[in-house]
């Protein structure tokens, strides 16, 4: 399934590139209001049309890509940065109180529907992109902790780990030098999947007003804005949604492709 990998990387690449290009150049400035140009359908001047303030939708999508990608990326970073060490620690001290606490805390977080964590954080600190990152990040921590713990557990029985122990290495060094490199593949694949889930979550949160606040453009809020205009300007709803769909699709294809590439044993079990 190399085709999926290439298509996925291509799609994801386009949106990352759009986000990066937007720092230097966008087709139209999106800072100002241009009522004369409002609700233009897609056409020559504005490739994807304009919104209810006359802002260019293509430019908004490019700048919005930054928000989506940044929120999802940092949230995955939190998940990996906190979750993986915890998972490795739990595996190294299998059966200890640390293992028990880490596993039970993970169960606890999974008991909260992901969006509820965001809702609570918003209730406490108010809506913002940073709080969206924290909410999505918190949910990512047990995902990576479980993955790392499960994968590390089976590695602890390997001969090379035994050899390292005989050589006098402690749990920390073994985890860092022998276990981590061997579970890196799994982490990359899961990271891609969580990245795509993060994009979806960010879009959902900003759609209900719990994510990035104006004037920071975000795909979810573009969709929220478009909702009341959907009968007269369907293009306003169409393109931001397509951007989310294609980015998530690309990342999912990329994740599947990477899994096949990095771990041929899983190829048969593909879902």
């Amino acid at each position: 399934m190399k085709a999926g990998l290439i298509l996925g990387a291509g799609l994801a690449g386009v949106f990352v590139a759009a986000a990066l290009v937007s720092f230097a150049w966008v087709p139209h400035d999106i800072g100002g209001v241009d009522i004369a140009a409002r609700l233009r359908p897609p056409g020559a001047g504005h490739l994807l049309g304009t919104d209810h303030f006359g802002r260019d939708i293509l430019s908004m999508i490019m700048v919005g890509a930054r928000t989506s990608i940044a929120v999802a990326l940092v949230a995955v970073g939190i998940g990996i940065g906190v979750g993986v060490p915890l998972g490795l620690w739990a595996a190294a001290r299998r059966g200890s109180w640390a293992d028990e606490v880490i596993s039970r805390a993970g169960d606890l977080i999974f008991a909260f529907p992901s969006l509820l964590i965001a809702v609570m954080i918003t209730a406490v600190f108010g809506p913002s992109a940073v709080n969206a990152i924290i909410a999505i990040g918190i949910f990512n921590i047990p995902v990576f902790a479980r993955l790392a713990r499960g994968a590390a557990m089976s590695l602890w029985t390997r001969d090379y780990v035994l050899a390292a122990r005989v050589a006098g290495k402690g749990g920390f060094r073994i985890s860092a030098e022998h276990i981590l490199p061997n579970i890196a593949n799994l982490l990359i694949v899961q990271g891609t999947i969580q990245f795509s889930l993060g994009i979806l979550a960010e879009a959902g949160l900003s759609y209900v007003g719990l994510g990035a606040q104006p004037p920071v453009p975000s795909w979810g809020r573009m969709l929220a804005d478009s909702q009341t205009m959907i009968a007269i300007a369907p293009h306003m709803a169409l393109f931001p949604g397509l951007a989310i769909l294609l980015t998530v699709l690309g990342l999912n294809l990329l994740g599947d492709g990477l899994r096949d590439l990095l771990d041929p044993r899983l190829r048969r079990r593909r879902t």
Partner: protein, 315 residues
């Protein structure tokens, strides 16, 4: 089995207790005084003090936590700050929308996913399989609220088959009620059905390669007979787990989808309560949703252990 159930029941109690503590502490640090918020900036100090006493805000946090938990155990979640009605009544009222919606979506998702997954697995590699896999790949990637908006555009605005939002209430009859929930349920079901169909397909393909299927075929069963009589039943275990887990996703999804369709369910209640700084309501609704998720997962675990005795020994 009984010992397993008992152990899981204790862990369920502990989870709920810790969750209640987390929720309480999280909302405890919220800046601002709800009483001051309700009365506005010009409130007289004695009015403020009276309201604080009425809401129990003059007590210490541990006392308020104890009162909240004790109330929950007796089915009393306190009075909403803004609506001045018991939070329990509000939850029960909103549940009449949210619960049917979640069940409707779960039923649709299963009805779509089973045939699609079984068909794709039975004709692995065929056009059907490729189409099912392609469509489900899209279904997993589509934001459900966007899909909901597109359906509104097509079925409400252009075709005028459904209303674009709102809920007539069950007093209007089951038919109109279900009709109002149809588009939201489809929007919720599509991503879930996609995941479920993929799980169904891969679980079936896995079991179809087992030795007992070969034995069944050797006895003279056709491919179809082997699939229906032997493979399907064994493939159901992972599928059932996912259906249980999806309930939690559906509850989260309900929160967003209700906002798309302006449905007076729990999801909208949460947002209204946050906007009004009605912390008692937020706290209790969140706790209720966590309770629902934990209990459903508990039931799934038990069903699982009942179906597969090997699982009872683990943890």
């Amino acid at each position: 089995m009984l010992r397993y159930a008992l152990r899981r029941l204790i862990s369920l109690g502990v989870t709920l207790l810790v969750a209640s503590l987390v929720i309480f502490l999280a909302l405890e640090v919220v800046p601002g005084d709800p009483a001051a918020y309700m009365l506005g900036v010009n409130a007289r100090p004695d009015t403020l003090a009276a309201l604080r006493a009425e809401l129990g805000l003059d007590q210490t946090p541990p006392a308020r936590y104890a009162a909240w938990v004790a109330g929950m155990l007796t089915g009393d979640l306190g009075l909403s700050y803004t609506y001045r009605t018991p939070v329990v009544d509000m939850i029960v009222e909103r549940l009449q929308v949210s619960l049917p919606l979640a069940v409707y979506a779960l039923a649709l998702s299963t009805l779509i996913a089973f045939p699609a997954g079984i068909w794709a697995a039975a004709r692995r590699g065929s056009v059907v399989d490729v189409v099912v896999m392609g469509v489900t790949q899209l279904g997993v990637a589509i934001p459900n609220f966007w899909f909901a908006m597109l359906m509104v555009l097509v079925f409400s605005i252009n075709l005028r088959w459904f209303s674009a939002g709102g809920f007539p209430g069950w007093e209007a009859g089951v038919g109109p009620g279900l009709k109002a929930l149809t588009l939201p349920a489809v929007a919720l079901a599509l991503p879930q059905a996609s995941i479920l169909a993929r799980i169904m397909r891969s679980a079936l393909i896995e079991t179809l390669s087992e030795d007992y299927i070969r034995t069944a075929r050797a006895k003279g069963l056709s491919r179809g007979q082997a699939l229906w009589r032997h493979a399907l039943r064994n493939a159901m275990i992972p599928v059932l787990t996912i259906i249980g887990l999806q309930f939690s996703f559906l509850l989260a999804g309900v929160i967003i989808i209700e906002n798309v369709f302006f449905l007076p369910g729990l999801g909208r209640l949460v947002f209204q309560a946050i906007a009004a700084r009605d912390l008692i309501a937020v706290e209790s609704v969140v706790m209720f949703l966590v309770f629902a998720v934990v209990v459903v997962n508990f039931a799934v675990d038990l069903a699982y252990a009942w179906v597969d005795p090997r699982l009872r020994g683990r943890r």
